[in-house]
C-alpha cells in the first residue's frame, strides 16, 4: 500500500503549494513522493532540538559531554549490540561500517517504536550498500542543523508556505527526485531535482523551473554545482551548501562569484548526518554538541592524544535507531579545541574523483555505485587514466557477470571510452573496499 499524502504530511493540511511545485509547466517528471512524516509530537522534538543545538556546550580536551554517561547506560540497557557493556567511555571498543551493515537491527533500541522506523538505502559510495534506519525526528533535524550553521552567517530560513526553502541539486544518470514540504518550516517547499536533461520535458526547463522557484538554499555536491553553473541560472540564493565530497577552493570561488552568496562545505555522513562545517581551508568546525568526536589509531583500538592525527571516531547522535558508540568514520584528521569548540584539522575525507566521458562531460561516481549495487559484487575499484580509459576490478563469486559490468560501465561512460573489466574470485573472509581513482583533477 502506497502512502497517501495525508500520511506523508500529517501536519500540513493545505497541499496546494505541493501541487504547484509538482504540476508546474516546467516541472521535471518527479519520480518519487516524499513527505516529512512529522506528527505533532515529532515536531515538538525537532523544535526542542533546534532550541538546544546552538546553545548546548561542547566539551574540552579533558572533559566529556554531560550526556555521555546516561547515553552509554541507555545503550547498554536497551540496544542489543551494546547489551551489558560498561557505562564508561574508556571501556568502549570501536565499531565500523561493517557492523552496521551486517546487522542493522542489532542497533535498534528496544525502547524505540517501530512505527517510526524509516529506511534509507545507501548506494554504497564508500563501501557496500547499507540500510540506514532512522526516524522522522532525526531526519527532520537536518534542517535545524543546517540553520545553526547558517545563523553564524546571519542567514535565516523563512517560514511559511508558498516559497521554496531548499533545493537539492543533483546531476546523475538517475536518482530519486521529488517535490516536498517541510512542516518544520511551516510548509515551505523542499525539492530535489536532477539536472540530467532526460528528466525534463525540455532541457531549458531546468533553468526556468529553478528560476521560478528561486530557492533560498541550494544544496548539492561540487559536480552538481558545476553543472548548475553551466546553466547560468538567475537565482538569488541565501547560501549554497556543498556536501558528499570535498569542495575545492577553485570550485568554491567560482560558485561564490556567480551566486554572490556564502558557499558552505559541510562534512556529513549518512550514518549520522552533519558533523562539521569548513572554516577556511584547513579546519572544520563541529556542528553538534550531541555528537562526541575522538581520534583513534587507524588499526588498534587506542584513542590518540589531543592534537594527534588519526581516524575520526564518533559517539552519540540523535537517531534512536542507530545509536553510535565509537563509530569509525574512515576519515582522517586531528582535533583541536578552541574556545570550547572542537575543530577537525586537515580533514581528509572523500576527495572528489573526477571522471569524464569522451566529450569531457562529467560522470558522477554515484552513478557507478548505484549501478554496481544491483550486481553481486563484494567490492570494486574504478580507475580512469589520462587517456580516459577505465580499469574496473571487482570481487564476486559469479565470474559470469563480467560482460554485464562491461555493458553497464560502457553505458555510463558512453562511446569513445574504453573499459577494461576484471572479475576476481570472491573471498568471503576479507571485506572488499570500493575505491574510486582518477588521473584527472577537478
Amino acid at each position: 500500500m502506497a502512502l497517501s499524502d495525508a500520511e506523508r504530511f500529517p501536519l500540513i493540511q493545505d497541499l496546494s503549494h505541493l501541487r504547484s511545485l509538482q504540476q508546474d509547466a516546467c516541472a521535471p517528471s518527479f519520480n518519487f513522493r516524499s513527505g516529512d512524516r512529522l506528527q505533532s509530537h515529532h515536531l515538538q522534538q525537532v523544535t526542542r532540538y533546534a532550541a538546544t543545538i546552538g546553545k548546548q556546550p561542547f566539551w574540552n580536551d579533558d572533559t566529556q559531554p554531560t550526556w555521555m554517561e546516561s547515553y552509554l547506560d541507555w545503550c547498554a540497557r536497551t540496544v542489543p549490540f551494546y547489551k551489558g557493556r560498561a557505562t564508561t567511555l574508556s571501556a568502549q571498543p570501536t565499531i565500523s561500517r561493517s557492523d552496521l551493515q551486517t546487522t542493522p537491527w542489532q542497533f535498534v533500541s528496544s525502547d524505540s517504536n517501530l512505527d517510526d522506523l524509516l529506511v534509507y538505502q545507501t548506494s554504497g559510495t564508500t563501501g557496500a550498500p547499507m540500510d540506514v534506519i532512522f526516524d522522522p525526528v532525526s531526519q527532520a533535524c537536518w534542517i535545524p542543523q543546517l540553520e545553526s550553521v547558517l545563523n553564524r552567517y546571519g542567514i535565516r530560513l523563512s517560514r511559511g508556505t508558498g516559497h521554496t526553502a531548499i533545493a537539492l541539486i543533483c546531476d546523475q544518470q538517475s536518482t530519486l527526485t521529488y517535490a516536498s514540504l517541510s512542516a518544520y518550516l511551516g510548509g515551505a517547499g523542499v525539492i530535489k531535482v536532477n539536472l540530467n536533461p532526460l528528466e525534463w520535458k525540455d532541457p531549458d526547463h531546468r533553468k526556468q523551473y529553478l528560476e521560478k522557484l528561486n530557492p533560498e538554499i541550494l544544496t548539492g555536491d561540487p559536480f552538481a554545482f558545476l553543472s548548475l553553473l553551466a546553466l547560468a541560472p538567475r537565482l538569488s540564493p541565501k547560501a549554497l551548501v556543498s556536501s558528499a565530497m570535498k569542495l575545492t577552493e577553485g570550485v568554491r570561488n567560482k560558485l561564490e562569484s556567480f551566486f554572490r552568496c556564502p558557499v558552505l562545505d559541510i562534512y556529513s555522513l549518512t550514518e549520522c548526518r552533519m558533523i562539521a562545517v569548513a572554516e577556511g581551508t584547513h579546519r572544520h568546525r563541529a556542528i553538534r554538541p550531541e555528537l562526541f568526536l575522538e581520534i583513534f589509531d587507524p588499526v588498534h583500538d587506542i584513542p590518540l592524544k589531543p592534537g594527534e592525527r588519526g581516524e575520526l571516531v564518533i559517539t552519540g547522535g540523535n537517531n534512536p535507531f542507530l545509536p553510535l558508540i565509537r563509530y569509525r568514520t574512515g576519515d582522517f584528521c586531528s582535533i583541536s579545541i578552541d574556545n570550547s569548540i572542537p575543530y577537525l584539522i586537515d580533514l581528509e575525507a572523500r576527495a572528489p574523483v573526477a571522471y569524464y566521458r569522451a566529450d569531457h562531460t562529467f560522470v558522477n561516481y554515484v552513478d557507478i555505485s548505484r549501478t554496481m549495487t544491483e550486481l553481486p559484487l563484494a567490492g570494486f575499484s574504478v580507475h580512469q587514466h589520462t587517456d580516459k580509459s577505465v580499469t574496473f576490478k571487482g570481487w564476486s563469486s559469479d565470474a559470469s557477470i563480467k560482460p554485464l559490468v562491461h555493458e553497464k560501465l560502457s553505458t555510463i561512460f558512453g562511446t569513445g571510452v574504453s573499459v577494461d573489466v576484471t572479475i576476481l574470485p570472491f573471498d568471503s573472509q576479507r571485506a572488499k573496499p570500493v575505491t574510486y581513482a582518477s588521473d584527472f583533477k577537478i
Partner: protein, 194 residues
C-alpha cells in the same frame, strides 16, 4: 534376539502401542487403572508374577498426584517396557520406576503424550530417555554417542535454547519486517540524500 537393542525396532515397538493403553476413564476419586498396570509390568520385569506389591517399589502415592497427560504418558511407558528386552531383568526396576514417575512427568510440559507415538523424533527421544534411565545403550553406540543423540533430540533442551533466542529473534524480525515494509512503500523524506 532378546538382547538386540536396535533403535528402529524399539521405536517400532513403542509406536505400536495398543489403543487400550491410551483410552482410560478414571472417575475422580477412584483409583486409576494405572497402578494395576504398573505392578503387572514390574512383575513381568522381575520375571515373577507371584510377587506381592510389598516386594515391589511403591508407586501408590505417586499415582494419585498425576494429571491425565502424565497418566497417558505413563501408560505408553508401561507398554514400552513390556518389550522382551526388559523381561526378567529385576535390576532394571529402579530405572523403569524413575523413568515412569520422575522423568516422564518432567517431560510432559514439553511434549504432548500422543506426540511420543505420532512424531518420529519424539518416539526416538522417548526410547532413548527410557534406555538412559535403565543404563542401557543401543547396540553399536558409545555412551558419548548416545548422549549426543539424546541431547540433539531433547525437547527440554530445545525448549531452553529456543526460549533464550526467541525474544531477540522476534524483535529482529519485527525490525526487518518494518524495514522491508518501509522500503516497499515509500521512504520518508530523503532530504540531502542521494
Amino acid at each position: 534376539m532378546k538382547d538386540q537393542k536396535e533403535i528402529y525396532a524399539l521405536i517400532k515397538h513403542l509406536r505400536s502401542c495398543p489403543q487400550d493403553f491410551l483410552e482410560f476413564n478414571h472417575q475422580p476419586g477412584t483409583k486409576p487403572v494405572t497402578e494395576a498396570l504398573v505392578y503387572d509390568l514390574f512383575r513381568k520385569v522381575v520375571g515373577n508374577f507371584n510377587v506381592s506389591r510389598e516386594g515391589l517399589p511403591d508407586v501408590g502415592k505417586l499415582v494419585w498426584q498425576l494429571g491425565d497427560e502424565e497418566y497417558r504418558a505413563i501408560h505408553i511407558g508401561v507398554w514400552f517396557f513390556h518389550h522382551q528386552l526388559f523381561e526378567g531383568n529385576a535390576s532394571l526396576i529402579k530405572g523403569i520406576r524413575a523413568f515412569l514417575f520422575e522423568r516422564l512427568p518432567e517431560l510432559t510440559p514439553y511434549v504432548k503424550s500422543l506426540a511420543w507415538l505420532e512424531d518420529e523424533d519424539r518416539a526416538e527421544e522417548f526410547v532413548r530417555e527410557a534406555l538412559r534411565c535403565c543404563n542401557m545403550l543401543i547396540d553399536g553406540e558409545t555412551e558419548h554417542e548416545a548422549q549426543d543423540r539424546l541431547d540433539g533430540l531433547s525437547s527440554v533442551k530445545r525448549q531452553q535454547v529456543l526460549e533464550q533466542t526467541n525474544e531477540s529473534l522476534a524483535r529482529m524480525k519485527a525490525i526487518r519486517q518494518a524495514m522491508a515494509e518501509k522500503k516497499a512503500r515509500e521512504a520518508a523524506n530523503v532530504y540531502g540524500r542521494e
